[in-house]
């Protein structure tokens, strides 16, 4: 009986100690992002004051990431969690947040950031939306980091969130976001020039999935068709034949395919239509040499230039 009473007192004391223990002070903010694009921008904004980890690699389809328990461990220790939003990660992030046991990063919490709230969104559906349209994103196209203006807005949003959680670093985060904006602005001058020079500006293009409207707007090209008849629906024989005819009729210059989609069918389509096909990563670290946001766009334009023959 004495043993049981002692054990009971010990357990209650341990529970009290656990519950009331103050959080340990951290020298750096622990940041977890969904994608590598967010991680890259967060590192440029936060510098040495942040320790950034991510969950989805740049070569993965961000719609279809496994909600692995190992991600729960990262989220449990995070001071800040950053997601793209607009339901890009709806298939895997909610159960991770629900199991993270971290009040700070729950939606509405001090450490939660959905960057889509501060950027310019294209293709917000009007009228009724249902799945006869495929696996649509009902709150607008979420692939918005592919606009450099949005990347700058994302950096500003991230800096504001870091400053909210770590007020002592506010000036550093603001300076980091400003430096990022300067680098992107300088790079954008050469990107636009390069896009014109290689013939991307004003060109008709085809993409596998509707991931590229922001990129198309950025560089003044026109997405005239998709390999998928509707988002998430693989192409049928009839749609493929129709697509090839469209590509010829509209003088499509290039077909863009993300690395996580099947490459065989797009290459057959490209061969039939006489159009070069580019496996084009939409995210940082989607392939070699894409470690930062500016690396990403530099590499994307280089791949397109090579496919289009620099014309």
């Amino acid at each position: 009986m004495h043993c049981i009473a002692t054990m009971r007192r010990g357990l209650v004391a341990a529970a009290l100690a656990l519950a009331l223990a103050p959080a340990a002070a951290h020298a750096t903010l622990k940041v977890v992002t969904t994608t590598e694009d967010l991680a890259a921008i967060a590192r440029e904004v936060g510098g040495p004051r942040v320790q950034v980890d991510f969950m989805a690699h740049g070569y993965e389809d961000p719609h279809h990431v496994d909600a692995k328990p190992s991600f729960v461990l990262k989220l449990a220790k995070a001071d800040v969690f950053i997601q793209i939003g607009r339901e890009l990660e709806v298939g895997w992030v909610p159960p991770l947040l629900n199991n993270a046991r971290n009040a700070k990063i729950q939606p509405g919490g001090a450490g939660f950031l959905d960057v889509s709230s501060g950027v310019k969104i294209l293709e917000v559906p009007t009228g009724s939306v249902d799945r006869s349209m495929g696996d649509v994103h009902p709150f607008g196209n979420p692939h918005f980091w592919l606009s450099s203006d949005n990347a700058v807005l994302m950096a500003q949003g991230i800096a504001a969130k870091f400053a909210q959680v770590d007020p002592a670093g506010a000036a550093a985060y603001k300076a980091g976001a400003a430096a990022f904006a300067q680098r992107v602005a300088a790079a954008k001058v050469r990107w636009l020039a390069q896009a014109k020079q290689i013939g991307l500006t004003g060109a008709n293009i085809v993409t596998y999935h509707n991931s590229w409207p922001y990129f198309a707007r950025e560089f003044g090209c026109n997405v005239v068709a998709y390999v998928e008849p509707r988002p998430g629906i693989p192409p049928s024989v009839a749609h493929t034949a129709d697509l090839i005819a469209q590509m010829k009729a509209k003088h499509v210059r290039v077909l863009l395919v993300e690395p996580y989609f099947d490459q065989k069918l797009p290459r057959k389509i490209g061969t039939s239509a006489g159009v070069p096909v580019v496996m084009l990563p939409p995210s940082v670290d989607g392939s070699a040499g894409m470690k930062s946001y500016t690396d990403l766009v530099d590499r994307q334009l280089a791949l397109i230039a090579k496919a289009m023959g620099g014309k």
């Binding site: 049981i4 357990l11 339901e87």
Partner: protein
């Protein structure tokens, strides 16, 4: 056992009060809407999640047709096996609620689950209160319509019943810190003893409770391979029906105990995640409902199942499952094999043809064939893992 229940309740109450106090002091993030001033720029719409304070409502429908004959477990030629309505929402900054109602062709509607989850407890803790499926093994957590199969494997069906193990009570789980950096989750559950279970007696008094414990770990073996392993234990008053049909009946324990182990191995090339994947899942169970030192040889029936699911194309899966269960009456064992081919036109519908052979006794076997169709409407749910 009552001591453990009181300790769990004490830990939960202290932690909840502290979390509420802490949450009240925590700064709440501002919500902002950015309007784009230029005329030709797209408008930044506010991030609208769901139906603005209404719960997310979803329906999973499961229809089934069958051919062949199994006199021990006959299936109807065509059946609405289940239409499950899910209502899920955040309640407040501290909790979320999940409610699942199920409707069947030939049964009364049922409350599958209705529970509150406490999301902001400190020290790696999380709690659930209400009616919920128990975390005994991995398979028991999956709602019937969402498993790859048209049936439940022999072992969990024999031990926990066709609906699996669930009940009303409280669960506390803890992310166990460890020097290996592994995910390790320890769960303790106290519930009213289940109303319908082959192994456990329905509660008549307030003291007749089910106690359940589970430890599950997870490890990424490489970028493509990962492994889940768990052990589970459940204890509740023994169902007197365990005595039925026993030729040399030994006195039952006051409590029936079930021990389990589960292992899941997965492979997926993340660069082509939607096209290829492999999963191998195995669960084993042992039921102990005999008194120690009885006059008769104790019966501790052992059972389990193992299945492999291979996705060989974007919309195609094939799988095979083997079952084994020593009979609770102590006469031999039952075994089975099930194979399936599944086509998923999209994430939101599924068509599966399945064949199952069950060997009940050396000269008693049954073949049945099934067509399973499921659909899912409502907000985009999480992909299963």
């Amino acid at each position: 056992m009552r001591l453990i229940a009181r300790m769990l309740l004490a830990c939960f109450l202290v932690s909840t009060c502290a979390a509420a106090a802490r949450a009240q002091d925590a700064p709440v993030a501002d919500s902002t809407v950015t309007d784009t001033p230029t005329l030709d720029a797209p408008v930044a719409a506010p991030p609208v999640q769901g139906n603005l304070l209404n719960p997310n409502t979803s329906v999973i429908g499961w229809m089934q047709a069958s051919a062949g004959h199994d006199p021990h477990d006959p299936a109807a030629s065509a059946l609405l096996k289940e239409a499950e309505i899910g209502l899920q929402a955040v309640v407040d900054p501290y909790t979320r609620a999940d409610v699942f109602l199920s409707f069947h062709d030939d049964e009364a509607p049922a409350m599958e689950e209705a529970y509150l989850t406490f999301l902001t407890l400190p020290a790696g803790l999380q709690a659930r209160l209400g009616k919920f499926r128990d975390g005994f093994g991995k398979f028991n957590l999956t709602h019937a319509g969402e498993t790859p199969f048209t049936d439940r494997p022999l072992a969990p069906a024999a031990i926990f019943g066709d609906e699996g193990l669930s009940g009303t009570g409280a669960e506390l789980s803890w992310l166990v810190p460890n020097p290996f950096g592994l995910y390790a989750n320890l769960t303790g559950t106290v519930q009213r003893s289940p109303d319908e279970s082959p192994s456990f007696a329905p509660a008549v008094t307030k003291n007749e409770l089910l106690y359940l414990g589970r430890l599950v770990t997870y490890a990424d073996l490489s970028e493509s391979w990962n492994l889940n392993a768990g052990v589970s234990f459940a204890c509740a008053p023994a169902n007197a029906a365990l005595h039925d049909g026993l030729v040399d009946a030994a006195p039952l324990r006051e409590h029936a105990r079930v021990a389990g182990a589960d292992l899941t191995v997965r492979w997926k090339n993340h660069r082509q995640a939607i096209y290829r994947s492999l999963m191998w899942q195995t669960e084993a169970y042992k039921l102990d409902a005999e008194l120690n030192g009885g006059l008769y040889a104790p019966r501790r029936p052992l059972g389990g199942f193992s299945y492999v699911d291979y996705q060989f194309a974007r919309r195609w899966h094939a799988g095979v499952r083997g079952d084994y269960m020593e009979t609770l009456a102590g006469h031999g064992h039952e075994s089975g094999v099930l194979g399936y081919l599944t086509f998923t036109p999209t994430e939101f519908s599924l068509f599966s043809v399945q064949s199952r052979r069950v060997q009940y006794a050396p000269d008693d076997a049954a073949w049945e064939h099934f067509l399973k169709i499921t659909f899912n409407i409502g907000p985009h749910g999480a992909h299963p893992f």
